[in-house]
Symmetry: C2
Subunit: 413 residues, 2 copies
Amino acid sequence: MNTPLIGSAIIGQSGGPSAVINASAYGVIKTALESEYITKVYGANHGIRGVLDDRLMIMDEEDPKELEKMLYTPSSALGSCRYKIADPDYDDTDFRRILEIFKKYNVRYFFYNGGNDSMDTCNKISKYMARVGYDCRVIGVPKTIDNDLYGTDHCPGFSSAAKYIATSFMEVSRDCHVYDTGMITIIECMGRHAGWLTAAAALANLTGDGPDLIYLPERDFDMDQFISDVKRTYEATGKCLVAVSEGVHYADGSFVSEAKTSGTDGFGHAQLGGLASRLASVVKASTGAKVRGIELSLLQRCAAHCASGTDIEESFNSGRVAVESALAGHTDKMVGFRCTRDENGYKCSYELFNLSDVANTEQKVPQEWINEAGNGVTRGFIDYCLPLIAGETSMVKKNGLPDFVQLKKVFAE
Amino acid sequence: MNTPLIGSAIIGQSGGPSAVINASAYGVIKTALESEYITKVYGANHGIRGVLDDRLMIMDEEDPKELEKMLYTPSSALGSCRYKIADPDYDDTDFRRILEIFKKYNVRYFFYNGGNDSMDTCNKISKYMARVGYDCRVIGVPKTIDNDLYGTDHCPGFSSAAKYIATSFMEVSRDCHVYDTGMITIIECMGRHAGWLTAAAALANLTGDGPDLIYLPERDFDMDQFISDVKRTYEATGKCLVAVSEGVHYADGSFVSEAKTSGTDGFGHAQLGGLASRLASVVKASTGAKVRGIELSLLQRCAAHCASGTDIEESFNSGRVAVESALAGHTDKMVGFRCTRDENGYKCSYELFNLSDVANTEQKVPQEWINEAGNGVTRGFIDYCLPLIAGETSMVKKNGLPDFVQLKKVFAE
């Protein structure tokens, strides 16, 4: 192991936010501020764009008490971006600029907090710095409610979204089962390519308050089968609660949410509203029942008030471990989780994964965790997911509302 | 005051559920079970339909510890209905049947837990029993997230929905302000005729995380003005967060959500999806910005995990006071709140209102609490609403999820 480098650190956040991405960033910031080797801690404003634009916030200037609120504040407190960095083999403009900024602030540690694309950015920066011989340690701190990062047992952010989704299904289930008349409810969850979030609705079934049917993008969607599933449940019980992933697609790969026509709905024009309202209209036409479509939308990824205590702790620790690993000499890695679930309960340990393995590989729900009919999940998924949603947030409230972090945002220069 | 009658009690729940309607019912059930005059406590399954169908659950048979979970369980644990009872002057079939059931079980206390229609049902039953000389005390226990019941300072259920809405606005605001690129977000809240719930979004402005614009049904909606408001905010800040009530309507009374065409959106066919997605498409067409429509849908009325502690306490107490008032000889009344807000803080006392005054009168957001431009609320509303959302739920969790009540449902006979 190398000895720690002496210099400053940058932490940036990128991609879609989550309920706990700030907990990870706080893990980085707090540990970096406490390190004797890290001379200054900068927060990049709006991710890598903040580096490119020389918009760096001095985290040393923030009140430590205020910073602690990052544990309970959703979204990216430093600002996010969706900037896709070029491949340096074709265009190294951005990389030369990043190097310039790194040199300007003597940046020896770079931490990037995000999903697949962010790990790709991290990977490219790491490789570039190695190639030009600039000594800088680059560690990715994962985040994605989609839970689709390769290697790690799960992703920080997923567990809190899963908890919110399961809780909301329990509540909505009670609500839509209350009348003595029939009702079909279709709830759309996020997950364009992976069905983890939608599958989490199944946790509500542990108390009998969950969905009757679950559709994930890991299986091709068949509209006729879907209608028949819903009808069967509705006719048997007078109710039907459905969880469906925004990313469900037909066998030809076209998204159900985007298809201009379908075999059964008969609409010939592009429809407004999301998948839930589209499926609701199809089911309504087929059953005549009262049908309601609900889209969980942004709510599911920012519901810090319903965050998982386990997720907050693990997210914070992944930030902490990122800094500790960098200080210990590691670079070009992502912090991930290796977990065990057995008679001794759930245990999570932290491990480093190669960024090049992680970047741009998608982890999907394993086929063996989806039932044969493709309309539900198995116990295997429940056993996997249940420990992740344990524990509650310690969010501080003021006037009955969350007391989110308010950064001073003192910019360098 | 009359002496207490000796006999049994029925509690029924009706109309759309809320996060705390069960807290009210529990207030009735617990107090009635403890009364030496009330011989048996029945829960009507699916409201007045449970009485008509002789479907009465014996609450004495339930485990008191389990019943206590009603404080934290959303929706109507006894089952709800939307049955509109006939006017007995024209058709007294239902009333003769109710009398028959009351006599069969020696029912001397009838408590009905619901909104405007339920208070109307209560009122009719009370008048009918008086007319036929059957000695029975009838008290309404209010519930409506819409907050539109006449007389009472506010309605049980509103405060919890308001807290959820304000919390969600804070969270979504953080989420949709995170990028360095522009974004317009339109969130639709419930309230067909009264804008209380939508106005509650303004509480999020206390921390700077609230909506830029708020539109209530108490003011006629003008699409051109709306677009111009959004554009102005978006151009000035690159962001715009809008709260809009499902019940906003044009000057001619037609709902914006239902209008086939409008001056600006140019669509000639009925649209799927709710108001939020309709307005989103209009704004998108006018600005070219990235626009997202979000409908809070059922989530806002059943989010027990985010209930107001004040609401839970007041809801429970309104049920308790209903029983105590009936025992003290009152009938044909609804329990309501009389509140003061001054330098000594917030105080709530319980009062009885005449059912005939309450039934079918709607309380709207006062005009003086809406700003001149009709796109926001004033400090008066904030001062009114803020104390109502104070305090947190003590909901018990199991495996990280709510532990909702599971009734045995032992039916009489």
